[in-house]
């Protein structure tokens, strides 16, 4: 290459850099006049949020709005961080009774190899409905069997399944038996399918066996990699996909219900040195101190359910998060649904009706799930530097009557129309 060519190339590169740099000087959006509930930190009666490059550029009372910024007038509204559904079937279920549209339950007992993201229907009709109610992220989990597969944390926006991914895998989903063979919390974890083992003890022994196998499998693979004369271990799918869990890279989310099973699960997690999240834990109130001591967070199952043990009390499901929260256990709420994912805030409000501090209830659908899934630097609160997942509402975001006015995901304003509004508008034309 000649010298002139080099110079030309340099100019081209510089020019390209300049042009792309210019396009990157993305527009600034300023939300002004709203009451700001940042969840982390004090509420602001009136404040401004600046969004740039999909992130919160500035937030506060006296923020000067740069010239040329797009202004969103939010006077009389409130600004919240987008809510996070900690256990949902969004994108895996369309019409629950029509098997052709259901992809959250694989057959068999041990399926660490299946990944929710690979079946995620990004244009599910349920996603825009949940989004229009202020939910901007969700953990989408496979269910059924013992090892149900890998869950994924998604944002509720994107043109393809992969575009929606925030964290993949989010966790390995493991299901312990339900209480007395009864329901395990609205389809999340249950032993009633007959696939789960009858008691947690036997199940744990079986899991430990699989985990040990996985460890040896890796050892043999490593030895073989170093020494050509050592035979490669035969491919073991279960071991292969359990490795990230065994090594503590991927957390396990254990769907566990009865108090004795929760204790056993805590012991199991400790012995195997796993990163763990519990799901369901309907009798968590009985062992709240053990959970706190083990620092294991709990995803509360659907509160649209009856207590699995009648003599625990009619209100036991509602009191359970209250007791655990008071004991210092980190809790988060979940819809455990696709069709009713929009109802996430009402599960939190229900617990508040039975004594959960309202601020804690809000945290349990925002910052707590973000912390539980290790994405607290990205989402869960309105703070400078975080992804601009912002919800503007005309009232308390946990109240049923509140209308969501605008939703921003990655700083981009979302279309709030959905299956509900489309059909309504269509038939309004009749008259």
């Amino acid at each position: 290459m000649t010298k002139r060519c080099w110079i030309l190339l340099l100019i081209v590169i510089l020019a390209a850099g300049f042009i792309s740099g210019q396009t990157k000087t993305a527009k600034i959006t300023a939300i002004r006049g709203a009451k700001i509930i940042p969840v982390v930190g004090e509420d602001l009666d009136v404040g401004t949020i600046l969004i740039k490059d999909g992130k919160i550029e500035a937030i506060g009372k006296d923020i000067s709005i740069p010239a040329g910024a797009e202004i969103v007038e939010a006077k009389g509204w409130r600004a919240y961080p987008g809510m996070i559904d900690s256990y949902a079937f969004l994108g895996l279920q369309e019409i629950t009774g029509v098997n052709e549209t259901v992809d959250n339950r694989e057959t068999g007992r041990m399926n660490p190899q299946v990944r929710a993201v690979e079946a995620l229907r990004y244009d599910s009709m349920h996603i825009p409905i949940a989004r229009s109610n202020g939910i901007t992220a969700a953990l989408v989990a496979p269910a059924g069997g013992v090892i149900a597969g890998q869950s994924v944390l998604i944002k509720l926006d994107g043109w393809t399944n992969r575009e929606m991914v925030v964290k993949n895998p989010a966790a390995m989903q493991i299901e312990f038996p339900g209480i007395r063979g009864a329901r395990g919390g609205g389809g999340g974890g249950s032993g009633q399918r007959g696939a789960a083992a009858a008691d947690a003890g036997r199940l744990i022994a079986e899991l430990k066996d699989l985990f040990t196998k996985a460890r040896f499998y890796e050892k043999r693979k490593n030895y073989a990699a170093k020494t050509l004369t050592l035979a490669l271990p035969e491919f073991d799918e279960t071991a292969e996909f359990l490795l990230p869990v065994v090594k503590g890279q991927t957390p396990v989310m254990i769907s566990v219900h009865a108090d004795r099973d929760i204790r056993a699960a805590i012991q199991f997690v400790k012995e195997e040195n796993l990163k763990a999240i519990f799901f369901g834990a309907e009798q968590g109130w009985k062992v709240a101190d053990d959970l706190k001591k083990a620092e294991i967070p709990v995803i509360i199952g659907s509160l649209y359910d009856l207590p699995p043990v009648w003599d625990d009390g009619y209100d036991q499901l509602f009191l359970n998060p209250v007791v655990m929260n008071k004991a210092g256990v980190k809790i988060a709420f979940a819809s455990v649904s696709a069709t009713m994912a929009k109802d996430l805030p009402y599960h939190a409000a229900k617990a508040a009706a039975f004594g959960l501090d309202k601020k804690e209830a809000l945290k349990a659908v925002t910052i707590y799930p973000a912390e539980i899934f290790g994405v607290e630097k990205l989402m869960g609160s309105l703070e400078k530097g975080k992804t601009a997942n912002i919800v503007l509402s005309d009232g308390d975001i946990l109240e049923t009557r509140t209308n969501i006015q605008k939703v921003f995901i990655d700083g981009k304003e979302c279309d709030l129309s959905n299956r509900y509004t489309e059909l309504l508008e269509k038939f309004k034309k009749r008259s």
Binding site: I95, V98, D315, T339, L398, T400
Partner: protein, 442 residues
């Protein structure tokens, strides 16, 4: 516990003990200082309700308690009419007679199970009355029954005799057995298997009933004639057709499980053709598509707030259905159809404020006065008015708030659910357990 029966009896006993008031008030109560949501006559910010012999005798301010009348302090709380569930299947020992397509003789009133713990669940959500229905396994099911949630009372005490007599009909996927797998060598498919067949079989039965009624009319005419024939045999009595005849005579009303707009319109067609009244369509997930027809024919709907997409015919069930239809003048109620959802009907009703823009009071009407009208009991319950039966719920917050909780449920002036008493009992039991643990005597 090893023996499940013993356990269940024990559990029922424990629950009964905690839900039943230690001593019944004998239907006399004075509720003081609550925010009274009458539903039909506005809101009293701070008022009292005097109940004597199970009837609301006075609503106002500063009512003094007559001697011997227990006072319930309700300051800071919301007092509302007992919630009415227009469509459930609770408290029954059987729901579906699905062996045949036409079973109007199969009356759920004959199999009331007053020991169903779903009654307690209902009470804990402020529900005082439920329309408990035959299932939707066949086009013509059977008569339904309206019950008060009087836990601990014998089944006959639960029955609301003032209510309309209702007959269950069903359309669509359930009755055409869409989810049934026909196995080789197994029983053949039951007629009908299509929506055409569903309408046809009902028309057949109505024609049969008309014929039956005509046979009786002719017999009665001859019998009453001046010179009756010497040999005059009455027509053979048919218990199945007797029920349908009662419907055609206007002594009963139809309650029809329906999802799609087309099948609803065709059922309205049948009602006109044979002259019977449809009180309400159940579920009616496409009612918003035919709201004008429903309002015009004065046919109500009893629907979910937003539980949808659980089967194909529920895939267009939008959350705006109830609110939109209500604004169009359709008489709408929100139902549970469930022994679990029944305790959060107030939450479901409140969703119509967001989806449909109903006011607080309009939303509350969907679970109080509206279902009362649909069941023909609005003269006796459904609102807080002097002279009505004292079926009342007391909530910590406005029942249309997501933070609302039911604290007390009163039927005929007696508290059947009292959260404060229950919490006290729990505390005492915990104390006793603590003492027992230390080896002492309670």
């Amino acid at each position: 516990m090893k023996n499940p029966t013993i356990f269940l009896v024990f559990a029922a006993f424990v629950l009964a003990a905690s839900f039943q008031p230690a001593s019944a008030e004998g239907g006399n109560l004075l509720i003081k200082n609550g925010t009274i949501l009458t539903v039909t006559q506005g809101i009293i910010a701070k008022g009292d309700i005097l109940i004597l012999n199970g009837i609301i005798r006075q609503i106002g301010e500063n009512i003094n308690p007559p001697a011997g009348v227990k006072v319930i302090e309700a300051s800071g709380k919301f007092v509302l009419p007992g919630i009415i569930d227009s469509h459930t299947h609770i408290a029954l020992a059987g729901t579906n007679e699905g062996s045949e397509a036409i079973t109007p003789e199969a009356d759920v009133g004959a199999v009331i199970n007053a020991d169903d713990t779903a009654i307690l669940t209902a009470l804990s959500g402020g529900v005082t009355m439920a329309h408990t229905m035959h299932g939707s396994a066949n086009p013509i099911g059977g008569p339904n029954v309206v019950l008060k949630m009087k836990w601990g009372k014998p089944s006959e005490d639960l029955v609301v005799t003032e209510a309309l007599r209702t007959l269950k009909f069903a359309l669509g996927e359930n009755v055409k057995q869409s989810s049934r797998t026909i196995l080789p060598g197994g029983p053949p498919p039951r007629y009908p298997q299509t929506r055409m067949g569903v309408n046809a079989i009902m028309r057949r039965e109505f024609l049969r009933a008309q014929n039956y009624m005509a046979a009786w009319d002719r017999y009665n005419k001859l019998k009453a004639s001046k010179i009756p024939p010497k040999i005059l045999l009455p027509p053979r009595r048919d218990l199945r057709l007797e029920v349908l005849a009662d419907l055609l005579r206007g002594k009963m009303v139809a309650r029809c499980h329906d999802y799609q707009a087309t099948e609803a319109l065709e059922f309205i067609g049948l009602a006109k053709e044979f002259g019977f009244k449809i009180a309400a369509f159940e579920h009616a997930w496409e009612a918003y598509k035919i709201a004008d027809e429903l309002a015009g024919e004065k046919i109500g709907i009893s629907v979910f707030a937003d539980s949808w997409a659980y089967k194909m015919e529920a895939a267009e069930g939008i959350a705006y259905d109830a609110g939109y239809c209500a604004k169009k003048g359709v008489l709408v109620s929100i139902n549970s159809d469930s022994g679990e959802r029944i305790r959060r009907l107030f939450n479901d009703a409140s969703k119509t404020m967001k989806y449909g823009g109903l006011s607080e009071n309009e939303a509350l009407s969907l679970i109080t006065i509206n279902p009362a009208i649909q069941l023909g009991v609005d003269r006796i319950v459904g609102s807080l008015e002097v002279g009505k039966q004292a079926d009342i719920a007391i909530f910590n917050e406005h029942p249309m708030s997501a933070y609302a909780r039911c604290d007390m449920t009163i039927i005929d002036g007696d508290a059947y659910f009292d959260r404060a008493a229950l919490l006290r009992e729990r505390e005492e039991a915990a104390k006793k357990a603590e003492v027992a643990k230390k080896g002492g005597r309670p």
